[in-house]
Symmetry: C2
Subunit: 178 residues, 2 copies
């Protein structure tokens, strides 16, 4: 018999195989949040992903790029235990801050592009979390000692869910035949 791959049940938060207990519960939350993000954008066309609802809105595509970029920035902060370098801060400024620069630069990609960005970031997250334990999760983040690693990763899900709420709102208002 081949070993069965254990996936978190979508509707349970509990320790899961391959992670220490508190990290496993966190992975359940991250996984659930991501599944709802992907469900919220399923089937969107490039035109729909790029659409700006109004002059101050972020496109759904930009919000997806932002979610992936926040996750990568938390790799740096919690796994590499350092702040973003000046070059990274500069390179990721538009996608981390969104707004006017993001509206200009974060566009022109099909859904697969964003889904791959999200999956690539998530692979590193899960590998990083699998290699660590609950003591690590509770420790303060070296480069940002007011937060601990658990808050950092909760906040990743929390920021994603916040933007997913906006994505759902924006999607419901896409032109019917764009």
């Amino acid at each position: 018999m081949s070993p069965q791959i254990t996936r978190p049940s979508p509707l349970r938060i509990e320790p899961i195989e391959g992670y220490s207990p508190a990290i496993g519960r966190l992975v359940c939350m991250l996984t659930y949040a991501r599944s709802t993000t992907l469900a919220a954008v399923e089937g969107l066309t490039l035109t729909e992903l790029d659409r700006l609802h109004d002059a101050d809105s972020n496109s759904i595509g930009a919000l997806l790029a932002h979610i992936a970029a926040v996750e990568v920035s938390y790799h740096v902060l919690t796994f590499e235990e350092r702040s973003l370098s000046a070059a990274e801060t500069d390179r990721w400024s538009a996608v981390l801050k969104l707004g006017a620069n993001g509206r200009q630069t974060l566009r022109g990609h099909p859904l697969e592009h964003y889904v791959e960005q999200l999956a690539a970031a998530r692979r590193i997250t899960l590998e990083g979390l699998a290699a660590r334990d609950d003591d690590w999760l509770e420790r303060s983040v070296t480069a940002a000692p007011k937060i601990n690693a658990h808050w950092a990763w909760f906040h990743q899900a929390e920021d994603e869910i916040n933007h997913r709420g906006q994505i759902r709102w924006l999607r419901a208002r896409l032109p019917k035949e764009s």
Copy 2:
């Protein structure tokens, strides 16, 4: 010396006094999510709370009422271990489902009204969680056995954060002098 009341640090997820360890971490998340909701609506007037951005939008006030009602429905589901009664389902239909009925009925209240609803629901949540332990948190919910209690309470925060994302978006688009 009077005993110091321990409050969760806003930027840490960790076990806290008065709760079993996993429940304490969850309370940190619920507390953080709530603090951001309250920050997102601070200072809004009744007119602003009632404003409908477009014909399909929920008002910010309705979203606040919804957040409190979802929390109360999870008291029933996880603390009272039962489904909503027919009378409750009927009474809470507009606020739990939002949409057209909610747009008609969930209005006319100042911010204090919603803040008190939220605080009243949260008091019961914290009392209920303080009286229970991590084994309870992991158990399936009797009236909804696909979910466990930890997912139910994570989902409470998750739904709140989703709507907080929408509240921020709507608040940024309120008329400047309403």
